[in-house]
């Protein structure tokens, strides 16, 4: 691990100013991802700006939205009564993430910006286009069980690992940012980028920009939401496949639906076409299966992850039938 400088920021403006003015710097909140990456040599910074003292840990609600401060810890958000009542999918996604120890440390902003678990990315001794642009992608011809079947390119097929981001994607959250040029808000659908030929660019953050909070619109849809996560061991493990779903029914008919997926896409994967299949139609095994088929229509599986095509459809079917009371 390289030596680095360290400053504790007192205000968000302060943090942004220091970060923008210091070469090769980055923010640190819980450090649960950043420090591992730095130790493994997958990421190197000359300077860390500690943002834990910023007054951004609150969780508040008003008429429009649930407003979650970027420094709220995963645990606090997961346990918050308002979150549990109004957006259970958020709470479930967080509780299915990492371990209690990690959730005590890790903050929401850091969670959204955690890096992929692709083993080649995290090993400084391997090639990786995301880490060293142009060096190649060993995952495409190598081991790719954990990798994406949707949204990949010839340069990168790594999945985004955050469960929370999947849930926020289903709920149309907005990410609020503060940068050297002021504040702005980015819908989560535009926040995560496809790898294309620039897999090193993962998010629509500009240099020095700080996540200040995440807003989740208050809808009756969000209140009817669930997160299902399938993984290789019972806890403390990332998703092989996950589904965040919100469903609003009128009788047996789907009034509205939101579907987002983890483990299958190079970014938290929203599929509005699959949602459209369900909207206005009765929720039956047939319509559910059709939504699943639409979801994987463009899937491009690799050697070790073909099973995800089938598994994600089964996971979707399970969540929807439970949410909609099918059988």
């Amino acid at each position: 691990m390289r030596n680095f400088g360290y400053t504790v920021a007192r205000t968000p403006e302060d943090a942004v100013r220091i970060a923008a003015g210091t070469r090769n710097s980055t923010f640190v909140s819980g450090g649960t991802d950043l420090l591992n990456l730095m130790r493994d040599g997958a990421q190197a910074h000359d300077h860390l700006v500690d943002i834990n003292r910023l007054d951004l840990a609150g969780i508040a609600v008003d008429r429009q939205a649930l407003r979650i401060g970027a420094l709220a810890r995963m645990r606090h958000v997961a346990e918050h009564p308002l979150v549990r009542r109004e957006s259970p999918v958020l709470s479930e996604a967080l509780l299915a993430s990492a371990s209690p120890q990690v959730r005590n440390m890790a903050a929401i902003g850091g969670n959204l910006l955690q890096r992929t678990r692709c083993g080649y990315f995290r090993d400084a001794g391997s090639a990786c286009n995301k880490r060293v642009p142009g060096s190649g992608c060993p995952a495409i011809t190598g081991y790719n069980r954990g990798h994406a079947i949707l949204g990949g390119s010839d340069h990168c097929i790594a999945t985004h690992p955050s469960d929370l981001a999947v849930a926020l994607t289903a709920l149309d959250a907005t990410v609020h940012l503060l940068g050297p040029d002021g504040a702005r808000a980015v819908p989560i659908a535009d926040f995560y980028l496809l790898p294309g030929s620039t897999p090193e660019r993962e998010v629509a953050l500009r240099p020095g920009e700080l996540i200040t909070r995440v807003d989740v619109p208050r809808t009756s849809l969000a209140a009817q939401s669930r997160y299902l996560k399938l993984r290789d061991r019972a806890t403390f493990e990332f998703a092989v496949v996950s589904v965040a779903a919100a469903l609003q029914m009128t009788g047996r008919t789907v009034r509205d639906a939101r579907l987002a997926f983890g483990g299958i896409g190079t970014r938290p994967w929203r599929d509005t076409r699959a949602e459209a299949v369900l909207r206005g139609r009765p929720l039956t095994e047939t319509t559910i299966a059709e939504a699943g088929r639409v979801l994987v229509r463009d899937a491009k599986p690799h050697n070790d992850n073909r099973f995800k095509v089938e598994l994600v459809q089964r996971a979707l079917a399970r969540v929807l039938s439970e949410l909609g009371g099918v059988r």
Partner: protein
Amino acid sequence: MTGLVGRGVARVDGRAKVTGAARYAADNEVTGVLHGHLVLSTVARGEITEIDTSAALAQPGVVAVYTHRDMPRLTLPSFPFLKGFLPLQDARIHHNGQPVAYVVAETLEQAQEAANHVRVRYRAERPTAHLADALGEAFLPRPFRDRPNEFTRGDAAAALKAAEVRIEQDYTSPTMHHNPIEPHTSTAVWNGNSLTLYESAQGIIFTRGVVAKAFEGFGVRLEDVRIISPYLGGGFGAKGPTWPHTLINAAAARAIGRPVKVVLTRAQMFTMNGHRAEYRRSLRIGATRQGVLTAIVDTSTGQLTRTEESIFNTSDSTLNLYACPNVHVRQMGIRLDLPSSSYMRSPETTAHFGLETAMDELAHELGIDPVELRIRNLPATGNTGNHLQECYRMAAKAFGWARRDPRPRSMRDGNEYVGWGVATETHTYSVFPSSAGLTVGVDGRATLRAATQEIGTGTYTVITQVVADGLGMPIEHVTTLLGDTTYPPASLSAASATMASVIGPASHAAQSARDAVIALAVADPRSPLHGVPAQDVVAERGYLFPRGDRGRRDTYHGVMSRHGRPVEVTGSKQNTGGRSHGAVFVEVRFDPRLAALRVSRVVAAYDPGRVLNHRTAHGQVIGGVTWGIGFALMEHTVVDRNTARVVNPNLSTYLVPVCADTPSVESFFVDRPAEDSTALGARGFGETPGTGVPAAISNAIFHATGRRLRDVPFTQDKLL
């Protein structure tokens, strides 16, 4: 004997461990110590063409950087040094993650940082990383430690051909790593030609031999080397052999003239200290319609390297467990560009998984209950016989096996299928020459010393218990000291050998010391026991009295304080190795729509001879079963096919079971002394629990789903 032996005495070192008072090897603060960090190769095969250490040497705090060009030349030791070469002695690269430089600095952080500045260029060749890519190159390796790799009994080929029923299947298992929670570490302190190592070693006597051999060119003799290893945070076999980092670190400390400490990182532990080799196994079993085995042909193919051909995952259970007249075992290997494999927790599991799955396939084919099939094939004589049958009876009853509907997919609970599977648990145990020194001090308290070690299994506790029992002393009056080569030589803590090797000498020492103290008492005019025939005196809870006359008593403390000098004895006793057995029953639950599987119940019974401590024995069962679940469902080192580099060298992607994957485990013991064991009737047992679990899970999955899985780990994709 005062009934201490067998009791579930709590860990005597428990408090020290949970309060942090126990000093593990890396906890020792040696004054003036430097810190070393290894630079590992990023190619798997080829040669170093250029190595530039100037930038690293210019980093703050750096004392030295060694490469193959300037590393002191050492002698290549033989077993238990398992590698066929010593790194940092020449430019050749034999595997990815091989040491190419060693950076020594004032602090660990400085050494790690400087390591980033070592520039290495290679002439790289394309490696072969998977068995599947070299199947045509399988060969029968030379005997390893005098054991040939081919065994024949009867005429298996002919018997197979003539068999009424045949099962012919292939089974595979991937590379796995030991992953003890404590990383490997070594601190070398030289004083002239004597060397002290604070070492995470499962066998300090073994390590001493390897280290002395490596430095023999410097005039270092065996007695110049001292290894200290009082506690280990697990080893699982990884710390039994001695690995290059220990030798490299000691050589650097010698050259620099200051103590140096090395602690491997987790990632380095995926190429520096052995692993369970990748395996493919082809099993051909023949039987009569009544389920009597007539032939077994077991051909295994394991990963070897280009520098050694050692087979660690032997097919002992194929050869020894069942009474089959015609057996042909071949343990083949394929050379790949990978590090040397080694012994890893219950090495025979690799082979046994195939055998016990095939037995279930045979049972299904014949329509015979799998428990009954096994019992029909147990040998009539030897220690396999009756007690294993009793294990089957005990565990089957507790599990409720009689209620099993043998048809696959026949048992349901709500939306889940329930599957019940069974397998024999069995492993070889070894015995190593051992002795123990016992001192009874003038305070009447006893201290036992033996150069074996505690790897977390309860060695301190059980030895203390046995010694207190033998002396007739309260357990609090006995202290056991382990993990120092200045103590009497004793067993490796591996190969299930510790108890079988050390308990005989410890109890012999206790009895000799007790007799010596009694002799002092009866000869001492100031003792109430003066003149009593020594053979009539008994010892209990620290008191000495004539049998049946507790009123006329002396104490250890009384006798020893009057005597004024400690009593010192040495105990030794030979024992022989063997096998110990058990039966394990597993219940799985399978959600067919999500293809999600979990293990919901495990019940097992064992015949470890006499149980010396029920609590530590049960602990061993929990540990073994948990690793068995890991072997079956998740453990898997991913080696990239193109680069031969490990892709998941950390505990967040090398999965081992967490508590939520592990149901409560019920264990039973036959608990009858083994007549052939001098360890108070205890057999070696450590590696037996868990050996049958992967097969039992596979068999339970078949019962739940109708699907037979033969390739571990059984991940969700294989169950869809």
